[in-house]
């Protein structure tokens, strides 16, 4: 078990111009922590993980595991175990051999390997399959073998590169919970890469959001959700995504169609100081509600209703200035509005709005 640190670590792929896949990453992971690296494809999250594994060079900065600089240490000297997206099992070995391979290389006595493999197999419900080759396993079983191979080694850090992306939706949710529980039980530092923000929110103690190789924000899931540091994080975390619109400002607040959302004095002052006439206004679907006839609200023309059982999401357009903007509103699934209907929508609580700089995207509200 060990803490992990990226110290201004960069990975630059040669080319013209060179691509900074990971750019000056500064990140500390505590001992026993479950950290999720999340971002869209091409954000550098997998590259960052591979740098930690030693499979990718570190062009600038350093990487530390357990307080020791491992920047130039080959993978086998780092005491890590990795679960690959493709699982990367050894096709010519049985499940038991796959799981015990790392221990065999380390020269652990045969009986001890057997015991450890049996123990891990029991934990992962693989005991029946120990003598099979990977070819004869289902996708979910292969995934568990890949996990088992990592567990058996008892490494100081687990690295997982989108381990669930090849599973079907139901199994993914199940395995997600299993991995989180397993990590809690083993209490091993874990770095987990995913593009799925739901996985990030549900599994991580902390979540680091990456975009274009740059760290956007690293915080607990709740903080990320409630206080995103910029418009990108706000739009990336949460499903369906936050409504993010550029709206004009008035003396009282943000001007939406038929609705002025009052803004805190401090925000208005700072906006005025910068001479901005517009802001990026963000509100999550669940922070909007259908307003009664006598309330103020923006007029929304319903274009689509998604009923999910517990909730329903209404997609509709609202006129802001000259343009028509699409908004998503969460409503009670028992009484959803009909297609084409015009409804009034208001913000549930003014503290649930997010404001960002229209150009830099930085968070404005306190």
């Amino acid at each position: 078990m060990a803490e992990v640190a990226y110290v201004n670590a960069s990975r630059v792929f040669p080319g013209s111009p060179p691509v900074r896949a990971v750019d000056q990453l500064e990140l500390n992971v505590a001992d026993g922590e479950f950290l999720v690296l999340v971002g869209p494809s091409g954000s550098g999250k997998s590259t960052a993980l591979r740098m930690l594994a030693g499979l990718e060079d570190v062009d600038e900065g350093a990487i530390e595991i357990g307080g020791k600089d491992v920047t130039n240490v080959p993978p086998k000297g780092r005491d890590i175990a990795m679960v690959f997206q493709s699982y990367a099992l050894y096709p010519h070995m049985t499940v038991a051999e796959n799981m015990g391979f790392a221990l065999k290389l380390r020269g652990v006595p045969k009986q001890q390997i057997k015991d450890k493999v049996a123990e891990a197999a029991k934990m992962l419900d693989l005991t029946k399959y120990l003598d099979r080759k990977p070819k004869a396993l289902s996708g979910g079983q292969r995934q568990r073998v890949a996990m088992g191979r990592a567990i058996v080694r008892e490494p100081s850090v687990f690295l997982m590169d989108e381990p669930l992306s090849n599973l079907d939706a139901k199994l993914r949710v199940e395995t997600r919970a299993n991995i989180a529980a397993l990590q809690k039980r083993l209490d091993t530092t874990t770095i987990y890469v995913t593009h799925d923000q739901v996985e990030a929110m549900t599994m991580g103690h902390r979540v680091a959001v990456l975009k274009d190789g740059l760290l956007q924000q690293c915080d607990t899931p709740r903080e990320l959700y409630e206080r995103p540091a910029n418009a990108f994080v706000a739009g990336f975390m949460g499903s369906p995504a936050m409504n993010l619109k550029t709206v004009p400002l008035t003396a009282e607040g943000a001007q939406l169609d038929g609705l002025v959302v009052p803004l805190p004095r401090t925000v208005l002052d700072s906006v005025a100081a910068e001479g901005l006439t517009e802001v990026t206004f963000g509100v999550r679907p669940e922070a909007l509600h259908l307003a009664g006839a006598d309330e103020d609200g923006m007029e929304l023309t319903v274009e689509l209703v998604e009923e999910l059982g517990a909730d329903a999401y209404v997609y509709g357009s609202v006129r802001i200035g000259d343009a028509s903007e699409r908004f998503i509103v969460r409503v009670d699934s028992r009484t959803p509005p009909a297609f084409g209907q015009k409804v009034k929508v208001a913000v549930r609580d003014n503290s649930e709005i997010h404001l960002f700089h229209p150009e830099s995207g930085k968070r404005l509200s306190a």
Partner: protein
């Protein structure tokens, strides 16, 4: 999952029904069937007949080997084999030993060189990577005849002219480029993820090659081994030009020329020797073909 007998029976019946369905769909008309089998049988006979006739001839005395009206059995005996094996006609056993030694050395050295080279060009990017591959490709374009003199000069410079090892090196120059290409193609089909998993598990780069990639490349290695063996086993031009003229240092392919001289050809002895020459090649193929299975590397990675 629990499976009861009724479910099993039902599944069995379904499978049987499925088979019947397939059979009826794949059914050919009688005429098409006859035509297809006729064509295949003819092609097989055309392929097998020369070998068969050599076998028949090998049992006949030289005088009876070529006749105006050939017969299957005409004073057939094992005399030719006895003559050839006992060394009465040519130094067969010495040639055989030379050939086996040279072919095996070529196989071992050729496969070793092309596997390591193939792995390097498949996995690593290094200066000269492209020109190396291009060089291997171009090298295969020269006819053997053009290569004999320059290779002979190189062997003289190395002091290896007329030696077994010199000839092995020469065979490797033709076998290695082809085998490298072949193995590179095979290694390319093995996912790099498996290499990386091995490195994380504690293997050195050579360990990855030796313990993961080579076992998974067995079919490719089998083909290249067989190719290298054949390159050396049946070759005449290099062997007659580069080995010393002494009778006991010849290979089989060169030695067989003893039976066909300017004025007369000992067909019976030649055929018997040919049959004996073919046996090791068949044996090597038999040993190697059980590795020629597809899908060895499947299942390791998803999709």
């Amino acid at each position: 999952m629990t499976v009861d007998a009724a479910a099993l029976r039902a599944a069995g019946q379904e499978a049987a029904a499925g088979n019947r369905g397939r059979a009826s769909r794949a059914k050919r008309s009688r005429l098409a069937s006859v035509g297809l089998h006729g064509a295949l049988i003819t092609a097989s006979l055309v392929a097998v007949f020369p070998v068969f006739w050599v076998l028949v001839t090998s049992f006949k005395p030289d005088a009876r080997a070529v006749e105006a009206t050939p017969s299957l059995f005409n004073e057939s005996s094992l005399d030719n084999y006895v003559d050839v094996l006992s060394g009465q006609r040519g130094n067969f056993l010495a040639w055989f030993g030379n050939s086996v030694l040279i072919a095996l050395l070529t196989t071992v050295l050729g496969v070793f060189l092309s596997a390591t080279t193939g792995y390097a060009v498949s996995r690593f990017r290094f200066p000269g990577h492209r020109s190396l591959l291009l060089g291997f490709l171009v090298m295969q374009m020269f006819p053997f005849a053009v290569l004999i003199v320059p290779l002979y000069n190189i062997l003289i410079a190395l002091g290896l002219q007329g030696t077994t090892f010199g000839l092995v090196l020469v065979y490797c120059t033709t076998a290695v480029p082809f085998c490298t290409y072949m193995l590179k193609g095979y290694f390319d089909t093995i996912p790099v993820d498996i290499d990386e998993a091995g490195r994380v598990d504690g293997l050195s780069p050579f360990g990855v090659f030796w313990r993961l990639v080579l076992p998974l490349a067995r079919p490719g290695l089998a083909v290249t081994a067989f190719y290298s063996f054949l390159t050396a086993w049946g070759e005449v031009a290099f062997a007659s030009a580069l080995l010393s003229a002494a009778d006991e240092s010849k290979t089989l392919a060169v030695g067989l020329q003893v039976f066909s001289q300017q004025n007369r050809t000992e067909w019976g002895h030649l055929a018997a020797a040919s049959i004996l020459v073919a046996i090791p090649a068949v044996l090597v193929f038999y040993l190697v073909q059980r590795f020629l299975v597809s899908g060895l590397a499947s299942g390791g990675v998803k999709g």
